[in-house]
Symmetry: none
């Protein structure tokens, strides 16, 4: 694998690890991707801000151009309630830039498509119609991965897996994945796929950062070994918590001060929040020692996890993006010793399932 960078001396990508197979599938994705998550339900992901209402189309284009030319080949979006504006922006940029369709990976997520009752959830009707809407907004014939953006307990698993198989067999998607499903739900999808000879999912999108570890470090590796499902993670900076913006209270101009971010403000002020901020301060010191920023350390830490195929970044300006991409430079410093030090500092390393027989 080889990223196509032109004269970017500012960071040194380890070529052998920059691209990874998505789970056990044959799809090769860059280990960093540009994300776009659904603001209303999961603001913490932070990735939403990339292509949404907060940044200009011009900034979005700048971000995608820098990313693509640095070797990033993964761009994640989603259908959304309002206008699907993120998909439209993404589609326009791709069209304008004229990049070969085969040189990048576009993923979108289906669940909340509109206000009508039939425009939500994972019915066959909405999976097919929702994806058609996304493709139309993206001006594409197909996406590479279509995700079920959360499980729908009111749709039978057989219907979901059949519909996903249908859109793949129609050529509307190359693969399908899940987003925020439990390990058991993913296993059920696999089970149904095997029972009826349908296509199983290849990937789960999950939140992953210093303070949310269990799923990505314990449950998904088990699924990876059993059924080959990979992990694409989001919110590596825990909504900015990790960059320490809020360590001295919430300034008026920050995201947490904005309407709708009340939850973040409250979280920062809670006892648990204060404990986390104390840890974040120590991580800043460690980052200083390693000669990188706190954000770079947090992203490199996510990438060190062997089950992680790609980490989705949520950035709102080019400086942030360039800083985040710099995380690759310190991957080689993620030694067992450093990992152990961070684990001790965090004090929340989850227990693995592998047990002795005694």
């Amino acid at each position: 694998g080889r990223p196509m960078m032109k004269g970017s001396a500012w960071f040194n990508i380890f070529q052998h690890s920059f691209y990874r197979n998505l789970g056990k599938s044959g799809l090769r994705v860059s280990c960093l991707g540009l994300g776009d998550s659904l603001f209303f339900l999961y603001p913490c992901s932070g990735t939403w801000v990339t292509f949404g209402s907060q940044i200009s189309d011009e900034m979005a284009e700048n971000l995608m151009t820098i990313a693509y030319e640095s070797g990033v080949n993964l761009f994640d979006t989603a259908e959304v309630y309002a206008s699907g504006r993120a998909e439209i922006t993404l589609g326009n940029i791709i069209k304008k830039k004229g990049w070969r369709r085969s040189s990048f990976v576009i993923t979108t997520k289906i669940y909340w498509g509109g206000q009508a009752e039939t425009e939500r959830g994972l019915s066959r009707k909405h999976i097919i119609e929702g994806l058609r809407g996304s493709l139309s907004r993206l001006q594409l014939d197909y996406v590479d991965i279509v995700f079920a953006n959360r499980n729908d307990v009111n749709s039978p698993m057989e219907e979901i897996v059949r519909a996903m198989t249908f859109v793949i067999n129609q050529g509307m998607a190359m693969y399908w994945g899940t987003s925020r499903w439990s390990a058991m739900e993913i296993m059920e999808a696999y089970s149904v796929a095997r029972q009826f000879n349908l296509i199983p999912p290849v990937c789960e999108q999950a939140e992953y950062h210093y303070f949310q570890r269990d799923k990505v470090e314990v449950q998904l590796p088990e699924l990876y070994h059993k059924i080959g499902v990979g992990a694409m993670t989001w919110s590596p900076l825990a909504c900015g918590l990790i960059t320490g913006k809020y360590s001295d209270g919430v300034p008026e101009s920050s995201r947490a001060a904005m309407k709708g971010y009340q939850w973040l403000k409250e979280r920062v002020s809670s006892e648990e929040g204060r404990r986390q901020l104390a840890k974040i301060k120590e991580l800043h010191l460690l980052a200083d020692r390693l000669g990188c920023t706190a954000a770079q350390l947090a992203i490199a830490w996510c990438l060190r996890s062997e089950g992680v195929s790609s980490v989705l970044l949520g950035v709102s300006n080019t400086d942030q993006l360039i800083e985040n991409l710099g995380a690759l430079q310190i991957l080689s410093q993620m030694t067992p010793q450093t990992i152990t030090e961070i684990d001790a500092l965090l004090g929340n390393k989850p227990h693995s399932k592998k047990e002795s027989r005694a």
Copy 2:
């Protein structure tokens, strides 16, 4: 099924609810069963004391006779390291009493069978040889349910499910179940059964009481609805913690004072333990108000859970047994209001997965 009670005026069994289908299987089991778990590894189950080294064979016979004549048709045992004495005792009693084989349900559990390397785990060899050993000690041609007494990550699921299907097809067992498996592991077993046209498990044995709720109240109902697996629960009294023996410290004569129960003593003394004891005191007050004992309340509370097919009792004398069976009398008092009150008191009601689509 029909309970065979002779003139037992001391409790009023609602026959329509005394027997329940085991999961979605056709097997009808009494909602209370006599348990026997592996002491050395899972002392907290408390059920082990029924047929083990602590009670005499005479007491065991008395307990089984009262239970059977009260309509209890479920007797659970396990192969064990040492001598399999529990199975031998159980087998002798059944033989002596001359009860019709078709009138009761015997279950045993396979995993730890002996000291040789090949006498542990869930290899095909040990499942078959282990069950043969159990049947020999029980003096039976078959058990009704054979349980895998924990998952074995070193045996492939296909091998486990094939071996369980084999012993069923050989007539050595009627059904098979799991014990202390994760929801995902059970789903994987189901998946493999469907993929290869083998027999899926019908039941999971799980610990369940006031202080351990998540699996039985959240995960197993989901499995029940998806694949029909029922729940057989143990340790309703949390090893005696709930009966309040230890609320004023650990007396010298109690189980917690015995060799090997150091863990229980420590637990009772911990901060968490003290919090639990405070709650238990309130539950005693509630039991007084409802006109029952704390043990009866705890057992009735387990039985109110719709996913529970049967609760295994761990008793060591006839008074305890009769008291425990009395829990059925207050089942009708497990009203939504009482349930809500207990939930508020415990403060640990797990969140259900069933969510709205909004």
Copy 3:
């Protein structure tokens, strides 16, 4: 099938043997085809030179016209790194000549499609996008066989076979095959196809000449009998080694003197190379005795192998092509006696697997 020859008295094709079924499939291919292999990686195939950068489009058209009018119905190409020029040339000629699409067989090979990470290998994405690119360059709606141009250990076999089945079900290809896969890998593909009711491969492309015999003479016949996979072979002249150009050293004007052919020069000079050249001299004498050229003998020798469905020729001018086609004239001289004589001369006859039971 029937060759469409007009007045070609210069060679006598035994019609009953000129067309052969491709493996056990129903597809009838001429036993000689025009090849085009990937130069950069497998220069020895020699077949690349047909439609690549070394010959003019005019020459390419002349070669195809002669071949087609002589009854050759098989034309093999491949997607390539740079510009896919071979496919473009082939497509233009077919269009210009106006031959009925149903009268010939076009095959292409997918693996190395472009410089982006996602444009290589056998992911579902690249198989589909790569074949779409090939069809576009060829100006065709479908190819007859799409080959996986080597195995991709990083793509799961299920993904590969599903993608091949997909492109066939989409009408983009009639059949699929493998190129340079091991016997075990082909068997694994067959296994996966049977397990998931997908379409198994019909053919393996393999190098085959005097000095590379094992795979085509031992392994592929076994696969042919077991699962019907046929052999389409390339490099019958071992990159020109056999025609003896280099028997007295490498002349400046020859291919081996060109840039990039250093390996061939070195090979000819090695001890092993000298031994092979000695054998080639004897084969020249044998060819003289049989009244044919060394190239004709080598090609006829390949065709005598019962497992071979078709031999792909690599020629760069019309004289070579006409000479090579003449190999058919001496097929009847490939008697058991001659075969034995050549085997003795080569001294490398591989052992067959067919053994007695004793």
Copy 4:
């Protein structure tokens, strides 16, 4: 896992590695086993001498007793032409010793059962009748693994796999395996098992020592990863070649001087043989440096291969057995450095299949 040794200070078994899963199956076998191979066809295995015509029944019992009490739980035998005497001896010893059936693993091999035409090969008739004969001679109800002692090209794979599944479903064997099959044949068996929902093989028995590496180091690991088949290897000392008995020619009293060992004598005298003897001398020096015998080094070297589940020993007296078991003591000295040194010395390290995509 824990071997049951009584006061054996003479060697230190690393408990965590003494037992290994057989391939990906759940069966736990000791990493050293006692072997018994078919003399007439595979004399080189050397394992034949254990229970055959060359050693007394008393010696056989001594060998088995020492092995069993040292934790060895794997005993391999085979049906044979003449009288099946090896199986009879083995069965008598097991019966006499009174070891629990569940504490050891017995394997036998079916192919050559008698002189009648129907008593050889892998027809359903002979697999079933042959195994019945073995069980009768062994005085056992079942073996743990039944091996197909070589492939039978005259029996369809479906018939073989169906017959193996039959004997397993009849309870005559726990698992089945292959012996001296090609990787492709094993894959075909797996394919047929998956296609018809039969039971796939768990293990291949293969020759493995310094001078025969390709299959166990390259092909079987690939099969292990794809379909879970493990390796049980034999002839770790290359028929005694490695112990250096013949390094100064073949003495009159040695095995190589006996009738029937003409081949060994010839081998030792060949050019290839002389080259091997030179290497063996260097290996002796290395063994001296590591403080072990050449045999111990050879066995430890086999055990270091991650794909190897168990190495079958062929010993004819107790001193040899105790010496061989001592190989475990030096397993910890099989460092990457030592492995590299041995590879350099042997000069025959096979190439792995894992390739880059570039």
